[in-house]
């Protein structure tokens, strides 16, 4: 069985199928990209994986556990961390406190939590903001704080939701470096991203979805040349031309 696997996951909001029968497998140590036009269901897939929404149908397995049906905090405990597209910093806490709060998950004492938090902050390059209130951070650092906080829970699988959106080119360059560094530290990553440059350079495999359904899966090169994908992004007219 694959390290992480979704089987036919489906989510209905009323009569609307936001995610419809999506199955994919992620191997350990991969960076797995998730692409699709706006509203295609990428974030919903994340919300299903981390238990924010209950599944309508289907199953999710991770590292020998059945994830579907568990509560969000339990899913975090077995090793799936996530960041939010709309960042959710704990505004009236300092960056350090933000990270300590999540480092407590696998720490027995406050001392241990603080040490691990400091390490994680250093790893992610947020040391200069350590004692600033989270609400005072610029957007690039807030996104970085999201990652830091998720990492502090010692995840084995990290779900990154549009970490490079809204960043300028040099900031997204730094984000790529950080994501690779996280992968090299042994964390498997599933990433949703709109910026093609980011996702094409770092993903090992990519899943493209549209209207909640899979339209292509494969290496970045395969997916980029897939007709369905081009049609989904650029419209039917472009397909007609080639």
């Amino acid at each position: 069985m694959a390290y992480f696997e979704t089987k036919n996951i489906t989510k209905f909001f009323g009569g609307l199928a936001a995610v419809n029968g999506v199955s994919f497998k992620v191997e350990q140590g991969q960076i797995y990209g998730l692409i699709g036009p706006n509203g295609s269901g990428k974030t919903t897939i994340f919300n299903l994986i981390n238990g924010y929404f209950p599944l309508t149908r289907g199953e999710i397995h991770f590292d020998g556990h059945r994830v579907s049906g568990l509560k969000t905090y339990q899913i975090c405990k077995i090793g799936i961390g996530r960041t939010f597209q709309v960042v959710k910093p704990l505004k009236r806490m300092t960056v350090l406190d933000n990270v300590i709060a999540s480092a407590f998950l696998h720490a027995k004492s406050k001392k241990e939590a603080m040490q691990w938090a400091e390490q994680t902050i250093d790893f992610c390059g947020l040391d200069s903001y350590k004692h600033k209130l989270a609400k005072s951070l610029p957007i690039a650092s807030r996104k970085r704080l999201e990652i830091t906080r998720a990492l502090a829970t010692k995840p084995k699988l990290l779900l990154l939701d549009e970490t490079a959106a809204g960043l300028n080119p040099s900031e997204s360059e730094q984000a790529i470096v950080l994501i690779k560094k996280i992968r090299d530290s042994g964390v498997t990553i599933i990433i949703v991203e709109h910026i093609m440059k980011v996702i094409m350079t770092i993903s090992d495999r990519i899943l493209a979805i549209n209207h909640g359904m899979v339209i292509a899966e494969g290496t970045p090169a395969e997916v980029a040349s897939n007709h369905e994908v081009i049609a989904a992004y650029l419209g039917e007219d472009y397909r007609a031309q080639d």
């Binding site: 509560k71 961390g81 939010f84 910093p89 505004k91 406050k110």
Partner: protein, 333 residues
């Protein structure tokens, strides 16, 4: 070590207070202040740190008070057992209640606590065979002197401040504040938000219930209108928290001083000043009566003032407050 200086000096002053001030009136006021420090601290845990606004502190306060009273009234057990048992009773009430209401987010908890407050008051009023209804319960006071009550109240106040201080610097504190700031983020950080909200509520309820038990012992008389009072207990608890400073350890202490003082100034018509002025004048007599009845109105004005100028309370905005005073002095110099 510096962190402990100011509190220790203050503690020493508080211990010395009854010897310095012999007046029974002021000693009585201080006992109320200390009781409110405990209630405010309890309120602060669930509402200030965990962000779940408790609108019905009186429900827990009253249950604590009635536990103490009923122990003596029905079972002839010393009402002092009502202190620990009152805390326990409040906790037992909080448990199922939190378990149900914390599944929802948003303003529901606040509204449901408001309802709980009223439900408890009606139960205490209607269940006459148990609680004597509106007649109330008289409990024999143990001590004639105020001193024992004063030191027990001081112990409770200090205990609750230490509890808040210890809790908020531990794992619990970090989890509580995370829940306040963002429940979704907290969940995905691996925090069982329902469970930790329950822990916070139970701690709060326990402290408030203890204060209720103390009230019965000190006052010697309770009835549903007093201990389940919405404006004199529940709203007052919120004000103590807000005026002093939400989610600060020492905020409720400052808030309790100010709120009890404000309440007393109005209740007594400016410590009898208005009564003196009005001697002989029927108009001023009715004004005096109006002022003492309007103390709840002053709460409203105070809240508006605090929210406008000190949104983080006196302790929370202490640095700004100091700066403002300092700058003004320099300008006038």
């Amino acid at each position: 070590m510096k962190r402990y200086w100011a509190p220790l000096i203050l503690l020493a002053l508080m211990i010395a207070f009854p010897w310095a001030v012999n007046s029974i009136y002021y000693q009585g006021l201080m006992i109320l202040v200390l009781m409110w420090v405990a209630i405010g601290s309890g309120w602060n845990l669930i509402s200030g740190y965990t962000g779940q606004v408790l609108f019905g502190a009186a429900a827990f306060f009253g249950v604590g008070a009635y536990t103490a009273a009923l122990l003596q009234h029905k079972l002839q057990i010393s009402a002092w057992w009502g202190l620990p048992l009152g805390g326990l009773a409040a906790l037992i009430l909080a448990f199922p209640f939190g378990w149900i209401s914390f599944r929802l987010r948003g303003p529901y908890f606040a509204l449901v606590t408001l309802a709980l407050n009223e439900i408890m008051r009606h139960i205490a009023t209607i269940w006459e065979s148990l609680t004597e209804g509106m007649v109330g319960i008289l409990v024999e006071q143990t001590f004639v002197s105020k001193l024992p009550y004063y030191y027990i109240a001081l112990g409770l106040a200090v205990g609750s401040i230490i509890l808040v201080d210890v809790v908020t610097r531990s794992r619990l504190g970090y989890y509580f504040v995370s829940i306040r700031e963002d429940q979704d983020a907290a969940e995905s950080m691996g925090i069982n938000t329902v469970f930790y909200k329950m822990v916070s509520l139970c701690l709060s309820a326990c402290v408030i219930g203890l204060a209720g038990g103390l009230y019965t012992n000190y006052m010697g008389f309770i009835d549903p209108k007093i201990v389940f009072s919405l404006h004199d207990i529940s709203i007052m608890a919120i004000l103590v928290g807000i005026v002093g400073g939400v989610s600060t350890v020492y905020g409720p202490m400052v808030g309790a001083f100010i709120m009890v003082a404000v309440q007393e100034v109005f209740r007594s018509g400016g410590f009898g000043l208005l009564a003196k002025l009005s001697a002989g004048s029927p108009l001023m007599t009715s004004v005096t009566k109006f002022v003492s009845e309007a103390h709840v109105l002053s709460f409203g004005l105070l809240v508006i003032f605090v929210i406008l100028f000190l949104p983080n309370g006196i302790v929370g905005d202490w640095e700004n407050l100091k700066k403002a005073v300092f700058v003004q002095r320099r300008q006038s110099a």
